[in-house]
């Protein structure tokens, strides 16, 4: 159980009606994790959705054995672990606390069960997650545009840029 006031600090839940926040509040857990705690492990079953109240979490992927790349640094108010909310998903990255972090967690299987019973909750969660993905993909598209602007010769090597235009 967490306070509704804490949930309102999460960007994804900002526009949620109070009656849905109450449901989430009763399902959620607030935990404090120490530095270097691994919250998500790449390629393993994703069963928790995380919302960061305070602290910082690094999203990492293995480049080669021994070299990891930080893809993102999650800041307060952001959420991660969306795979846990989608049927049959495995984690695509590893998430590690960079400093002591206060995190709200939701059980993926429990949320998926709730989505079957409460389509309003399911819709609002998916709508928020879609907006979050779009924002990230727009940032990537802008970064690629900037790089291509400075290095036009790279265009020939980019084969997936259309994936960022969000045509569905």
């Amino acid at each position: 159980m967490v306070k509704i006031e804490d949930l309102k600090r999460i960007n994804l839940l900002r526009d949620f009606p109070d009656h849905l926040l109450k449901i989430i509040a009763s399902e959620a857990q607030l935990s404090i994790f120490g530095t270097d705690t691994q919250l998500i492990t790449a390629n393993e079953k994703a069963d928790k959705f995380f919302m960061l109240i305070m602290g910082q979490v690094a999203i990492k992927a293995e480049l080669t054995p021994g070299i990891d790349v930080i893809l993102d640094n999650i800041q307060s108010g952001s959420s991660f672990g969306t795979s846990a909310l989608i049927k049959g998903s495995t984690a695509t990255y590893t998430a590690i606390c960079q400093e002591p972090s206060e995190v709200i967690t939701l059980s993926g299987p429990r949320m998926k069960q709730l989505f079957k019973e409460n389509h309003e909750l399911a819709f609002h969660m998916m709508f928020g997650v879609a907006k979050q993905y779009k924002k990230k993909m727009d940032i990537r598209a802008q970064m690629i545009m900037k790089t291509l602007d400075e290095n036009p010769e790279l265009k020939e090597d980019i084969k997936d840029i259309e994936n960022l235009t969000l045509v569905i």
Binding site: M126, M137, A141, M145
Partner: protein, 155 residues
Amino acid sequence: MVEKDILKKIVFLKDLPDPILEKINAIAQFETFDEENILFYQNQEQTLLYMLVSGKVFLNSRSVSGKSLTLDEVLPGRTFGVSALLGESSSTFTAVCAETSSIITIPGEQMRQLFEKDFEIGHTLMLKVVEIFRSRMKMHTRQFLHSLATHPEIR
């Protein structure tokens, strides 16, 4: 209003049951646009969701220095202008008809109202959007990592 058979050609709406398609149909418009017609501009407020029935549409982006780049060629069956569906304020790209194109347009606001009236439709369609976006992000990240891993300085 659009014929139901035409709606069924749209990948985003494929597999939706007839009662849902009828509700979407009630807020959809079918229009034909000439070649070079600009459907919406980058950074402009975007209100419509577009579903291409026939023809071809280019999605262009203009960089800070003013160079224009075609990022995607939209082919029949595909949907674009997702900013309108998500209630975002402005478009990330400019959409221009590469040839005469028949397009279904749906006001994003009305589509969201439909979702708010029938959360099951909203959930079904938003889940589709999330799964597509997620798989794109995943693929894009994989390709980015592959490019880095094969970079001479890292190898």
